[in-house]
């Protein structure tokens, strides 16, 4: 029997019960749609994290203050405390293979310009920082080492912070902002970097950089740094730089052998591996949940096909009487099931792509619909049709023509 003719029969049988067909398909539609949307979201998050990590700069090693115990209290990561100015000076002088190094200090402060108030991320950094983190300038220039030394009141500003304070399209270079009521002159206007890491949607461009000395002396009064960004000269040098940094800091902090570090050293690769692993796990989890709904959709197909075989027992009998082989009947019902699942799958793909577009547009979540996930979803839905359609189809094919003809 020709496949085309069988397809025609299948389509007609499905059209006969439009509502039932649609409801049966709905399971597959939702399943495939969910798989595609979920995987898109997962992939989008992964891509964002990857670009984020690339934006950290090349060959970067991060040293973070952390794990300090004082009087029985244990302070978590990022606490002010252990990274001192002397450490910075020592690292700068003594570690070989370092191309650039910059400390960072967070300032929690309101920033004002004219009558505008805003709470951007204010960070005190060294003059090398913008190079390490590959920031580019839209206008103006970086502050100098002399600015750092003299604790000059100069600042670099990101796109979002500038737009909020001065309005879009204005070049803020030369303008004055007040941080904790101290006036800072903007010398550099940074190009945009985009959204932050993960789903937190932290805006990387909502930022103001000031020389770390200015931050310490004029804004916070702190004497310790939150972290160091160290750039190794070449990728090959990273392991040796990392171990030298650890050794030097342990020596400086007088940490005896066998004692825990009071700082954390992470290379860019380690951070990226953790982040990708996390997003991969998330993608898998989302995909699994969506896969379960696809499975349920498949069971729905099997259910309806079994009902359909019972309902059409006489038709099967007639077909057999006029010469249909068991195989012909098997093919007829199998093609019907596969048609259900493939059409459902195609609609599901549209739904999945559409909803991930909608999510990016409305929620600002980055999504990435890969052709692979679409092809996989399509093949998978066809496979579900074959898998769940086979049992009912075989049941139909094994009917005895005499019994089938007599069935009421």
């Amino acid at each position: 029997m020709i496949v085309l003719a069988t397809l025609k029969i299948a389509v007609r049988a499905l059209k006969r019960n439009t509502l039932r067909t649609l409801l049966t398909m709905l399971g597959i539609i939702i399943g495939v749609g969910a798989v595609i949307a979920m995987v898109s979201i997962g992939n989008g998050a992964k891509a964002r994290i990857e670009s984020q990590i690339a934006a950290m700069g090349q060959n970067v090693i991060l040293v973070m203050s952390g794990n300090i115990s004082r009087g029985g209290f244990r302070f978590g990561f990022g606490n002010p405390g252990t990274l001192k100015v002397e450490d910075y000076e020592a690292l700068r002088r003594e570690v070989e293979g370092v191309a650039a190094i910059s400390p960072e200090i967070r300032v929690s402060a309101q920033v004002a310009a004219g009558n505008q108030n805003h709470f951007p991320t204010v960070v005190g950094v060294g003059s090398a920082y913008v190079d390490i983190r590959s920031w580019r300038f839209a206008s103006g220039a970086n502050f100098t080492e002399a600015d750092v030394r003299n604790a000059n009141k100069v600042a670099l500003i990101g796109q979002t912070a500038s737009e909020t304070l001065f309005g879009a399209g204005t070049d803020p270079v030369g303008q004055v902002i007040r941080i904790k009521n101290a006036p800072f002159t903007i010398v550099g206007f940074l190009k945009s970097k985009g959204m932050g890491m993960g789903l937190s949607s932290q805006d990387q461009d909502d930022v103001v950089f000031v020389p770390y000395n200015s931050a310490m002396k004029r804004l916070t009064g702190d004497t310790t740094f939150r972290s160091f960004s160290i750039q190794a000269a070449t990728p090959d040098l990273m392991p040796s730089v990392q171990s030298e940094v650890i050794e030097l800091l342990r020596q400086k902090h007088r940490i005896g052998p066998g004692r825990e570090d009071d700082f954390i050293v992470r290379t860019q690769r380690e951070i990226s591996e953790t982040a990708t692993e996390t997003s991969r796990t998330m993608t898998m989890l989302l995909g699994c949940i969506a896969g379960v709904s696809l499975l349920v959709g498949g069971i729905g197909i099997m259910n309806i096909m079994l009902v359909s075989v019972t309902e059409r027992t006489r038709e099967i009998g007639v077909r057999m009487a006029v010469g249909a082989r068991g195989k012909d009947i098997l093919m007829q019902f199998l093609i019907e099931a596969v048609t259900l699942s493939i059409v459902g799958g195609l609609i599901g793909i549209l739904l999945g792509v559409g909803s991930s577009r909608l999510l990016s547009a409305k929620m600002g979540w980055e999504t990435l619909t890969s052709p692979e996930s679409i092809v996989t979803a399509f093949v998978f839905s066809a496979a579900i049709g074959i898998f769940f359609g086979f049992y009912p189809a075989r049941k139909a094919a094994k009917l005895d023509p005499i019994d089938a003809l007599r069935y009421e």
Binding site: A5, E315, V318, G323, R325, D328, P401
Partner: protein, 252 residues
């Protein structure tokens, strides 16, 4: 000329539960091409079992059955299906047309399963020709529920004829029809028979059996009578007689 149907000591036993049911016990029967045979008998006489066997829907428990020279007992399920497709046209009591499917498509059905396949163009031509034979060319795109019982049975006959079978097998073809339509259907059978088609028909109505040329009566799984029909009825004559009677009633 070789027989279309040749049964030799044919038996069929159903092994269901404690008691074995001997539905047909040792029937020997030969039907030659061009015969019109009515198989009669009360219910439980084994005539349906015999029909199923003749229709290659079932195989004998013992004994032999040759259909058009083919030993049916040696065939598997698929071969039986092919044999039915090629050599037998079925007409059922309940018409058994596919609902929500046009008359034309119903008639095309056996060609879907033909080996080798039939080309789309030929399919249409042959189906239309079969419908013409039963006088329903103008109803080709009607669905079964738009047709009367007699018309539905004609579509079923057209379906049975479309693969040019050796044998037309009718199981109580008039069981669901009124007497006038029954005679019309008998007329179609007689016409086909006159053109050389072998017809085997199961019925329990004696007057319907009289349209055939040979009557086989079964009881308890055996053939008890097998004789020529002497006072044969002819459909056109019976129809005009029926018309006259009706006129007479109306006049009175």
């Amino acid at each position: 000329m070789s027989a279309v149907i040749k049964l030799e000591n044919f038996s069929k036993t159903y092994y269901t539960g404690a008691v074995d049911v001997h539905a047909v016990r040792g029937v020997s029967l030969e039907i030659q091409p061009g015969e019109f045979v009515a198989v009669m008998g009360a219910s439980g006489s084994g005539k349906s079992t015999l029909m199923n066997a003749i229709g290659c829907l079932d195989r004998p428990t013992s004994g032999k059955y040759w259909l058009d020279g083919v030993d049916v007992g040696t065939l598997d399920r698929d071969d039986l299906a092919d044999l039915r497709n090629e050599k037998i046209g079925f007409v059922f009591q309940g018409f058994n047309l596919l609902s929500r499917t046009s008359a034309l498509e119903n008639v095309e059905l056996p060609m879907l399963y033909a080996r080798p396949g039939v080309r789309g163009r030929d399919q249409l031509d042959r189906a239309l020709k079969a419908l013409e034979t039963v006088g329903l060319s103008d109803r080709a795109d009607h669905h079964p529920n738009q047709l009367s019982g007699g018309q539905q049975q004609r579509v079923a006959i057209a379906r049975a004829l479309v693969n040019q079978p050796k044998l037309l097998l009718a199981d109580e073809p008039t069981g669901n029809l009124d007497s006038r339509t029954s005679i019309e259907i008998m007329g179609v059978f007689q016409e086909l028979n006159a053109q050389g088609m072998t017809v085997v028909m199961v019925t329990h109505e004696l007057d319907i059996a009289h349209y055939s040329s040979r009557m086989v009566i079964m009881r308890d799984g055996r053939v008890v009578t097998d004789e020529r029909v002497t006072d044969r009825l002819f459909a056109p004559k019976e129809l005009s007689r029926l018309d006259r009677e009706q006129q007479a009633v109306q006049l009175a």
